[in-house]
């Protein structure tokens, strides 16, 4: 573990280039450790984003050797080929600087998919009882664990071909809410996620499912939305 890593890191904005850094190879080193080493010891002007370092916050996702990953939970030993790493910002999102992307559009799409819970009861009402074994609850057991890191969105080919497409994360969020029996916006939400900017644009390529760091399956949720919509009458509005 004494050799050096050759690390190419994206510098610049949409226009820019890769800069190469030598980073000491350490045991149990993560890709986030590598980026942090560069910023603290080699070039303090490098911009990147992280918070928790333990796979809870979802802010450190970057493109590592061409694949979107959480850098904090990716060991160098797993991804470095011949001691080489290439670290770039997430795809399908505008680059603010270096490894930092602008996530506004990503989260705006959650809002467009009506990704916010709206209940029909007040604090004066009794608690809602959702049976853990009910079909609806089991359908979203995995989906509700999404922390919004954007790895699926950056990996989705349909997003790159069709920029208005809501993307796997927003549709996964919508899927968890249409299965929430307490929510009162089911019909509006189904309208919001239908059509060519919504679930019907998904080609079931399943790259989102393959790349999700939490092994969630947005593809399954999107297929579920399509099935629900096939049985739902939408208002024929433009």
């Amino acid at each position: 573990m004494t050799s050096n890593l050759k690390v190419k890191v994206w510098r610049g904005r949409e226009e820019g280039d890769f800069a190469t850094y030598e980073v000491p190879r350490l045991e149990s080193q993560t890709v986030l450790d590598v980026v942090t080493y560069i910023q603290r010891r080699v070039d303090p002007s490098l911009s990147y984003r992280y918070a928790c370092r333990v796979g809870m916050c979802g802010s450190c996702a970057m493109t590592v050797n061409g694949v979107a990953r959480w850098t904090c939970r990716t060991h160098v030993s797993k991804v470095a080929k011949d001691g080489r790493l290439e670290i770039a910002p997430l795809s399908n999102l505008p680059v603010v600087k270096d490894l930092v992307t602008d996530m506004s559009e990503f989260f705006d799409k959650w809002a467009r998919a009506l990704g916010r819970f709206k209940g029909g009861t007040s604090r004066k009402d009794d608690f809602a009882r959702v049976k853990p074994e009910s079909l609806e609850r089991r359908a979203v057991d995995a989906g509700i664990e999404c922390i919004g890191c954007g790895a699926c969105y950056a990996s989705c080919d349909v997003v790159s071909w069709r920029p208005e497409y809501l993307g796997p994360a927003a549709l996964n969020r919508a899927w968890t809410l249409v299965n929430d029996v307490r929510d009162t916006q089911r019909q509006e939400r189904l309208g919001a996620v239908a059509g060519d900017a919504g679930c019907h644009a998904c080609h079931t390529l399943a790259t989102c499912t393959e790349r999700c760091p939490k092994q969630l399956a947005p593809t399954a949720g999107i297929a579920g939305l399509k099935r629900l919509l096939a049985r739902t009458k939408l208002e024929a509005e433009a």
Binding site: A194, G198, K226, A230, E237
Partner: protein
């Protein structure tokens, strides 16, 4: 494709259903081909089988209809995602292509079935 979200959702459903029909049609068609080419293939032999046959006529009419529904919807997707076409251009181009499939397909069915 264009139109309302409801139309887009409906088109998606139409494509799914037509794909199911095509799946069956293609299998039957392949079986017919394998059966037909045994011992050579001639125009006279084909026409002897198809002319006046309502079964062949009905089957291939369904095949043509399903293809004419399925292909334009898929091509619209490709035009939008790979060529960046949007709006009226996609609608007109794919409708014309669907019409072409429909006319040439039904013309072919007519040609081999009606004596």
């Amino acid at each position: 494709m264009n139109g309302s979200v409801a139309t887009q959702a409906r088109l998606w459903l139409w494509q799914r259903v037509s794909a199911m029909v095509l799946g069956v049609c293609v299998l039957v068609h392949l079986a017919v081909i394998i059966h037909a080419v045994r011992g050579g293939l001639s125009a006279a032999e084909i026409l002897a089988r198809t002319q006046g046959s309502w079964a062949f006529g009905a089957f291939y009419t369904v095949f043509v209809l399903a293809a004419a529904v399925h292909a334009p919807i898929g091509l619209a997707r490709i035009a939008e995602e790979w060529l960046g076409w949007r709006g009226l251009k996609v609608t007109v181009a794919t409708h014309l292509f669907g019409l072409l499939l429909l006319v040439t397909g039904l013309r072919a069915v007519y040609g081999v079935v009606v004596p």
